[in-house]
Amino acid sequence: MRVAGKGLIDRNRVLRFTFGGQSFEGFAGDSLASALLANDQRLIGRSFKYHRPRGIVTAGSEEPNALVTLERGFAREPNSRATMQPLYDGLVARPQNAWPSLKFDVLAVNDVLAPFLSAGFYYKTFMWPRKFWEWVYEPAIRQAAGLGALSKRYDHELYEKAYAHCDVLSSAPDPLGLWRL
């Protein structure tokens, strides 16, 4: 899909990345979105409620559809716009809000119901029986809501600030070498 000889990419530097477990190649200067488009990937995500297929619609920060989860080690950054992410070698991106896969998403069945559900239908539903709210409806709704997921594991990225604790803090010089034990 690329126009030969044009663009701001460096065709001499090939970068490898994965999206949804599949490996692709792009060039230095690509954004994740441009690299996906160059590899003919049109289906990037699913819509929030009805899980309709979604693809890239913009070239910048206003991108509403191409939201992916970026993974680096244990760190996971959900809801990242593919149009805003510069491609780097080893980039790992995963699609969001689709299970078991983007192409075959079980919850896309919601779209079958869409013509029968008016806007704001959820204000008048999920009310009976009462006990079902806490144990059936709400857990299901919470699980279906949201797009990306946070990683609950410790990430080893570098941060500017830390809230660190120690038992003894010494800021004095150490002529006897005591602290080198």
Partner: protein
């Protein structure tokens, strides 16, 4: 409007919501030392906030120093939320009383009743406070559960309900 001065100062309390995320926090977590609370809405966004901005304000928005302070408290408590994006932030106007407890009482003006001064705890108390206030309006006597929320407790010094034990002073709650 009625020419009354009340023991209330209006301060601003900021609140924040992140973008929608898959369930990761299933109850309300309160971090006392950081003046921080967080929970997750059914739509997936993390709802969190912290302390007052600590100056009188009706602007319904706060200032950036408190945003940074709240974010620091949040990151201290659970670093994983650092990867989420803050989608919305706003400020609410908190009617603060000197001892941090509300006022449900009649005033010296005939027919004028007060249910105010809930500071930042009013939303949770709405059903009970409404019930007690209705009782006061209907019978002209306070409900037994709200009998201590008198307007004159600051003048008399009796019956102050000071949850932090810091005394009845405006900027300490």
């Amino acid at each position: 409007m009625a020419g009354m001065r009340l023991p209330i100062e209006s301060h601003v309390l900021q609140a924040f919501v992140t973008e929608g995320l898959k369930p990761c926090i299933d109850h309300v977590i309160s971090f006392g030392m950081g003046h921080f609370y967080i929970s997750q809405s059914d739509k997936g966004g993390l709802v969190f906030g912290g302390d007052l901005d600590m100056y009188a304000s009706y602007a319904a928005r706060g200032n950036l120093p408190m945003v940074e302070h709240v974010a620091e408290a949040g990151m201290t408590l659970m670093p994983m939320i650092g990867k989420a994006r803050m989608l919305r932030s706003w400020g609410g106007i908190m009617d603060m009383t000197p001892d941090g407890s509300p006022i449900i009482d009649k005033t010296h003006i005939e027919g004028l009743y007060l249910n105010a001064g809930w500071c930042y705890g009013g939303f949770k108390a709405v059903p009970a406070s409404g019930h007690c206030f209705a009782h006061l309006l209907a019978t002209d006597r306070p409900h037994s559960a709200a009998a201590r929320f008198r307007l004159d407790r600051f003048r008399s010094g009796r019956g102050l309900m000071d949850e932090e034990g810091t005394g009845a002073q405006h900027n300490l709650h």
